[in-house]
Amino acid sequence: MSKKYGVYICTGCGIGDALDIEGLTGVAGSYSMPAKTHAAMCSEAGRQMIKDDMANDGVNTALICACSPRVWKEEFAFGDDKLTVRANLREGVVWSAEQPSEGRTAETIAEYTNELAQDYIRMACVQAQKMELPEPYKLETINRRILVMGGGIAGLTAAKEAAKAGCEVMLVEKADQLGGKALGWRKQMPTKAPWTDLEENSIQALVSAVTSDPKITVKTATEVARIAGAPGDFSVTLKAAGTKSEWDAPAKVGVDEQDKIAKGQMEDPNAGLKNYMEADPAAEKVGAVVLATGWNPADVSEFEHLGFGKLANVVTNAQFEKLAKEGKVPANVAFIMSPGGEQHDKDFPYCNSVTSMVALKQAQYVRQDNADGKAYILYQHMRTPGNMEMFYKGAQNNDGIFLTKATVTGVAEEGGSLVVQAKDTLLQENLELKVDMVVLAAGMVPTTSGAPTINLSYRQGPSFLDLELFDGYADSNFICFPYETRRTGVYACGGVRKATDMVETIDDACGAALKAIQCIESADRGVAVHPRSGDGSYPEFFFQRCTQCKRCTEECPFGALDDDAKGTPKPNPTRCRRCGTCMGACPERIISFKNYSIDMIGSMVKSVEVPDDDEDKLRIIAFVCENDAYPALDMAAMRKLGLNNLVRVIPVRCLGSVNMVWIKDALSSGMDGALLLGCKFGDDYQCHFVKGSELADKRMGNIGETLSSLGLEPERCGVRQVAISEWDKVPAIINEFVEEIKGMGPNPFKGF
């Protein structure tokens, strides 16, 4: 695209009063870009001025030098064939200007502030020169069918809802019949007002709704051997349940292991299996996957004091449900919700709120089956969220259901009965309950714990990543984006995602089905899914220079890159979330986006004017994550907290996309330091792309060594973690870093 530039400097919101606008116009002029000003560029008139230039003078690249790129996005978007570049003069310069103080007069500050503003104009001009229009990646053919794995409540609901929305669905169930765990329930918890009474098990109705739906193909007694491909174009190989197949998903084999296998020092774990890149001609084609493989009852034998496995009538809730379904339950039953004894008050692992409600349900079986039935529920936590509070109230109102918070210290046998010992009860006395049966509230372990389950044929292996960090649950940005997994196009719901009750499972399954549809639609349009929803750019590789180092394939947080036998990456753009982690990883700098490239950012860094004759005018480049850290800076500016005016901020998609060459660019152009501001990393990470900030920290550690060898202090480059809510701390974090640099003095290579 041949570009015609127009620079539009807004003088509203205090910009015109605080800055030398003529100076800014001059800077734009030095890039041969004509500049215009307007008192309110975001106003109808201001935008009309730009549109007129586009219509009359052929301007197609607008440089909006006004407010933060985070605001007025829609208003400053002029169409798919136009580029918009933003220079943040309002929040980035004027609103965050330093306040006059002793030793710093208004004139001095104005001088620094104008230099900052001019640098932002330069950076915007260079960005505009280097940026290209993104061209969305389109698959040759798009498959709109959805694979639903698992035929329990979650899977059945997802299939039903996806079909209702017009999608073809393939439902795969390992067992011989549909229904899942619900088949074994005697009654189900309430699903509608008044939310107090047990309901007849409705699973058969759901099963018939699915089996009679012409859009749904049901495959029972079937398992998924492997899933290859990418959203919009997955290839699914099926096999009979319980059998082995040459198409089973191969285990991950890392670089070192590959070496060992080649040298005969290690057995190939994938011997007899087809290579992960090999295409199965008989595979079924689908566009997205809903994972609804559910859960398994947890093992509770570790809690020895409760007698499970030793005493005859100590059972789990799952076993009790089976007893209740098959016949009468005993008259005196104690339900134990929390196994910690005097050590801790946690409930059984993997229970969430479900086991509380299951106990309330099963206590009613005791009452239904026995005129003088007595059910004791001993809990540390009674969790009945939402409408289920009514269910709790209803059960509580039953004459023979006795509830108390309690520390259960032991279960013992006594003359054919069991005696439950409890302390710290609401009755203010230690209790001994003589009962016929003890039921332990065992949790629901996700099927992803202990087995790959999703069986992906990916370079990064068949299972989800970092399962151990999340007790076997798929890593999922749990709170904000619950259905997401780290495998684009795969959406988890129901028990495999979280211990859920039936109502929640149904909600969950609807959500996951909609996410799957959304993913297929995004793939069709060639745009990204969460969290850069709608982004039409994608990473492009200049393969001639690839050295097959495999960093990009290893580091991609979403496993978007496969590779060939030599190790050359094979991109799958529809799996990609556009974070740029591959771009940051590549030592050869061959990965770039049309509108976000190594060259573009590198040139922006180099465009900063670095005075080499003034020891006070240090220059520090800051790469700031646009998801959390950059909003925090904007918020600090809105509250008029001064930001250090020696720092030049460049927003980046994720710290993971920061290529270390930009640091070298900064230091070699005489800048005195480089700061990376991004999300918290570690086990409780806040990174939108999971691993970006952590990777950036590692890379910065490595570059520190290089700096030392050049005689530069490694502390000149730093990574700082900022949460989006920490706008009040950001100015101090930056100042502290700048003070450290000041202490080290100017970059000794300045001016070379």
């Binding site: 109230k393 004459d399 023979g400 302390k423 609401l426 009755l427 006395e429």
Partner: protein, 402 residues
């Protein structure tokens, strides 16, 4: 491991409480708001929070013979503030009702009085007894309007009294009916209260080595309790139902007034009247005792009327559940007052039929008041008084030696 309490919930007890006004007891979720607002609640004794869970768990033995339950005046603060609508005040009332039946002697009569469906039987007993006596005495005839004298009620001829020894026939028959009923009630109440006291004492942490003498008991515990009752101090601490003092105090004073008048009447007519001619017949309206009787009668009707309205209003506002236990006493006292006043007015107006009818009903209602006192809500008169005495006892050096 510390020995725990062996719990055996009593489902029948729970069912009873639910039927006797405590239908909401299972709703309590132990937030202890009631204990915060209750003037009876003490540190480490969150009353009535712990009583609520005991009730939910059907722990009868912990609740019957529990002095705190008896001390509760059902001021309604706990019910008013309960966030879950569990109405602790009503639950405690149901427990007390259960306790009166539990301690009642004989059990058959106590059980008879515990249920509304038995009301016809409860009324039939005195009605038939009095009718039988009236019939057998041959007095079933009406006087002339000028000679209406309830002192001749049982008498065959209404103009001059038949004498049995030194006493009139009427006095003999009235005494023959009411003295045994009253004595029986007192004996019953004594038995019940002693059983309660034993249960309460058994629950004290460590029984003292010394027992108070009867005199010590009366002077140190009972008299102060009665004084407190007369002053209505506890009612005055209530927030939600403050105007109950306006009803209960006149009622209590009316009973005392009527007790004095009845005593005076007994002495004057039955004792002195045996020797001195002319003391029979109605008191003159100018007699100070007659004045006291009339004032007390009005106070009785007004007092019970206020309590009646209070309860109706509370029920309308859904703060409390209507029970036989509560309404029997209100109805009963109202009946005593209205029939008494009615008899007096119709006598003065000279309407023999109405006067005798009212008088007959008055006798029936008073008999019921006496006989059923130990088993109905009226029993609170003795049980609560002794619970208050017990409260002073347990705080005394007899219990708290160290």
């Amino acid at each position: 491991m510390a020995e725990g309490m062996r719990v055996q919930p009593d489902l029948e007890f729970i069912k009873y409480l639910k039927s006797a006004g405590g239908d909401t007891l299972k709703k309590c979720y132990q937030c202890a708001t009631c204990s915060v607002v209750c003037p009876l609640s003490a540190d480490k004794k969150p009353f009535p929070r712990k009583e609520m869970i005991w009730a939910q768990w059907g722990l009868k033995d912990k609740l019957v013979g529990n002095p705190d339950v008896m001390l509760c005046h059902q001021c309604g603060d706990c019910t008013a503030y309960c966030p879950r609508g569990a109405k602790p005040g009503d639950v405690l009332g149901a427990i007390r009702a259960y306790a009166y039946t539990h301690y009642g002697f004989p059990q058959g009569l106590a059980k008879l009085c515990s249920q509304g469906k038995n009301l016809p039987v409860m009324m039939a007993i005195p009605a038939l007894l009095i009718l039988a006596v009236w019939y057998l005495a041959g007095g079933m005839s009406l006087p002339t309007p000028e000679t209406i004298d309830f002192g001749m009620f049982f008498d065959a001829h209404k103009d001059h009294p038949t004498l049995v020894g030194v006493l009139t026939l009427n006095v003999v028959l009235i005494d023959a009916i009411f003295v045994p009923a009253f004595t029986f009630a007192v004996f019953s109440a004594y038995k019940g209260v002693s059983a309660m006291w034993r249960d309460m004492a058994a629950k004290l942490p460590a029984a003292g080595n010394f027992r108070p003498s009867v005199k010590q008991f009366v002077v140190d515990f009972l008299v102060p309790a009665v004084k407190e009752i007369l002053a209505h101090n506890r009612f005055r601490q209530c927030g939600a139902n403050r105007n109950r003092v306006n009803g209960h105090l006149p009622l209590l004073l009316a009973f005392i007034g009527l007790f004095i008048v009845t005593g005076y009447s007994l002495v004057r007519k039955d004792v002195i009247g045996s020797f001195v001619e002319g003391l029979h017949g109605p008191l003159s309206m100018a007699d100070p005792f007659k004045l006291l009787a009339n004032i007390s009668g009005i106070a009785l009707v007004v007092g019970i009327g206020i309590l009646w309205m209070n309860r109706s209003r509370m029920e309308e506002e859904n703060n409390t559940t209507p029970t036989f236990y509560d309404w029997f006493l209100i109805g009963e006292i109202m009946a005593v007052g209205v029939t008494g006043m009615g008899a007096e007015i119709t006598r003065l107006l000279g309407i023999p039929v109405l006067a005798y009818l009212f008088y007959f009903l008055h006798l029936v209602s008073i008999f019921m008041l006496f006989l059923y006192m130990p088993y109905t809500k009226f029993a609170h008169m003795v049980y609560r008084t002794f619970a208050m005495a017990f409260e002073k006892y347990r705080e005394s050096s007899f219990v708290k030696a160290e």
